[in-house]
Symmetry: C2
Subunit: 188 residues, 2 copies
């Protein structure tokens, strides 16, 4: 049996929570170690730099995103309905107090240089989502799949930012309806 919670996991969970809620630059490694109840050297033993910890969090967020994505869309028949289900779930999530925007948009805002490691991971994630949207748009029979995909992409990130700007009560209340309008308009 492993220990109840390994130090590496403790600091990772603390980092995930605090980076997401307060931002990457606002949280220091001292705060992370103290809040996790571990020594600072233990942190640096598992993550050689703060950037490594940021990247680890982003990669985990990417896996979580796709895990949720599969969960939401797996029991839905058509590509059109998969897209609708995703945007309905996103609408619900961004109106939750647990939502603090999008980890990838947040890191790209705080580290705008595209060669920053965290920004790189964010870019790859967003490109993957964009590609997935395009694939589903094709499957749904859109006349111009890449156009519909990009339009939905803008809606998604707009909803994330509405959450970070306004909190739980934000303009994304009508996100799913907007997605449906764009989708159905692109199919006919």
């Amino acid at each position: 049996m492993k220990k109840q919670t390994a130090p590496k996991d403790k600091v990772f969970q603390t980092a995930a929570r605090m980076f997401y809620q307060h931002g990457y630059r606002a949280i220091g490694v001292d705060t992370l170690a103290a809040d996790s109840g571990i020594g600072k050297m233990t942190l640096y033993r598992h993550y050689p730099s703060k950037d490594d910890l940021i990247v680890a969090y982003l990669k985990d967020s990417d896996e979580l995103f796709w895990s949720n994505f599969e969960q939401i869309t797996k029991d839905v028949a058509t590509a059109r309905e998969k897209l609708l289900a995703f945007f309905q779930a996103l609408q619900d999530y961004v109106q939750t107090p647990a939502c603090y925007g999008c980890p990838f948009l947040n890191v790209a805002t705080e580290y705008p240089e595209t060669d920053y490691p965290g920004h790189q991971v964010a870019l790859e994630h967003k490109q993957s989502v964009r590609a997935r949207f395009r694939h589903m748009a094709e499957e749904a029979g859109a006349k111009k799949p890449e156009v519909l995909a990009d339009q939905l992409f803008l809606l998604m990130d707009g909803a994330y930012m509405a959450s970070r700007m306004f909190g739980a009560k934000n303009p994304a209340v009508h996100l799913a309806e907007a997605a449906r309008t764009l989708i159905d308009s692109a199919l006919e």
Copy 2:
């Protein structure tokens, strides 16, 4: 005649450029003073704190936004066409290398606490834009004006973030078309 460029204006222009491009937390007052060619005490004489300078920049950005907004929409006849003109201009702008996203979304991301002065200014700005959209949606004859307004609002901020995430070559290429689809769907 005034001086060629007053120190207050010099440091403000430098701050505006660097805050927008690199972020608020990434740029320090020493950098601002040095890059402006003024003394640090001169900066603090005109802006008692860095936060004051941030707020000044945001308020100026708000004025600039509405100035551009009027410029774009003043020669357009109907409310529907005003909205279309705005989103076409926004689409063009966010595909420009001079675009680094939205100053208000950026500050809300870097300072998520809603009681932070800069976040406050950002919130007021976004609420004003949202209200203006709603007003124009009413004027255009939308059946549910607040729904259309919020949908367009998400598109707008999604486009801003696409610019910060991807740079000039981003998914906002189809922003105006998305706006038109949502608008016309809400009018019929």
